[in-house]
């Protein structure tokens, strides 16, 4: 083996704690099951789902997705800054992430309120049930994400507490919330 190959092998690392990766893969499977049921029932009664889907504003979905992608980018920068020892920049990136998450949550609550005003409740029809269930459970994951970001801030603020592994673990959770939304957005707002 060449020196370069050996160096590459040594440089490879699992970002964060392996337990978090087990959680990520498990959580993805659970959501895949939800998505599978949704697509199954959607394929069986496409007109009903299309009719209800028309109430959603694609622009709001796109905006929310871009905001969450921004938050993911910001957390990725936080991990790199923290790794480089630039803790002030890392803290700034966590605050940007939290701000993006707050924008997403506000936008989501406005969208829910608008749909309810239009007469679309949780039990209005199958599409609405899936819409409120999937966005609701994602909302809960995002709220947990605020706690996770709080842990990163707590870690970064004091030199005695700083743990790169924990920062990476928290970032891994945050990215999971992001990619789950990427799938939810595609399935609820765009598929036909």
């Amino acid at each position: 083996m060449t020196d370069v190959a050996e160096t590459n092998k040594r440089a490879r690392f699992v970002p964060g704690q392996p337990d978090m990766w087990a959680f990520v893969l498990f959580e993805t499977l659970v959501f895949t099951a939800y998505f599978g049921f949704y697509l199954f029932y959607r394929a069986r009664s496409p007109e009903l789902f299309l009719h209800s889907q028309a109430q959603l504003d694609l622009r709001v979905g796109v905006f929310n997705t871009l905001v969450l992608l921004l938050s993911s980018w910001s957390v990725a920068r936080c991990v790199q800054s923290s790794r480089a020892g630039a803790y002030r920049a890392a803290l700034r990136d966590v605050y940007i992430t939290a701000a993006c998450a707050a924008v997403f949550l506000s936008s989501k609550m406005f969208e829910w309120a608008r749909l309810v005003r239009l007469g679309d409740g949780v039990d209005s029809n199958d599409f609405s049930t899936y819409y409120f269930f999937l966005t609701g459970i994602h909302f809960v994951h995002l709220l947990i994400g605020f706690v996770v970001l709080g842990i990163v801030v707590y870690q970064l603020r004091s030199p005695e507490r700083r743990s790169q592994e924990l920062v990476e673990t928290c970032a891994t959770y945050w990215h999971t919330v992001d990619f789950l939304w990427v799938l939810i957005f595609a399935l609820l707002y765009v598929v036909r």
Partner: protein, 95 residues
């Protein structure tokens, strides 16, 4: 300490944003006749899976992780795709 701006992450975000905006284009292309479409549904799912893989590889740093994690996350993306398409096709057949 100052940290150098990572252009790669910016490019990744721009690609993800472009793929998101591609949905707007897809939506506009069928606005006149909002009918069920297997082609659009399949394209949308594939784009979403590509985005998930990019997030895994770039934002979650799987690109720099040991081969096992790389293969595991790739397998997971394939697993999601196969599950979604299977459920969709089974639903279509039972219509």
């Amino acid at each position: 300490m100052k940290v150098e701006f990572n252009k790669r992450l910016l490019v990744v975000w721009l690609i993800l944003a472009s793929l998101t905006l591609a949905y707007v284009w897809i939506d506009h292309s069928v606005d006149g006749s909002p009918r069920p479409s297997v082609v659009i549904t399949s394209s949308v799912i594939v784009i979403a899976l590509v985005k998930v893989r990019i997030i895994f590889r770039e934002f979650m740093e799987v690109r720099q992780a040991p081969a096992l994690l790389c293969r595991l996350t790739d397998a997971w993306v394939v697993l999601i795709g196969v599950s979604l398409f299977t459920c969709y096709i089974v639903g279509l057949m039972g219509k």
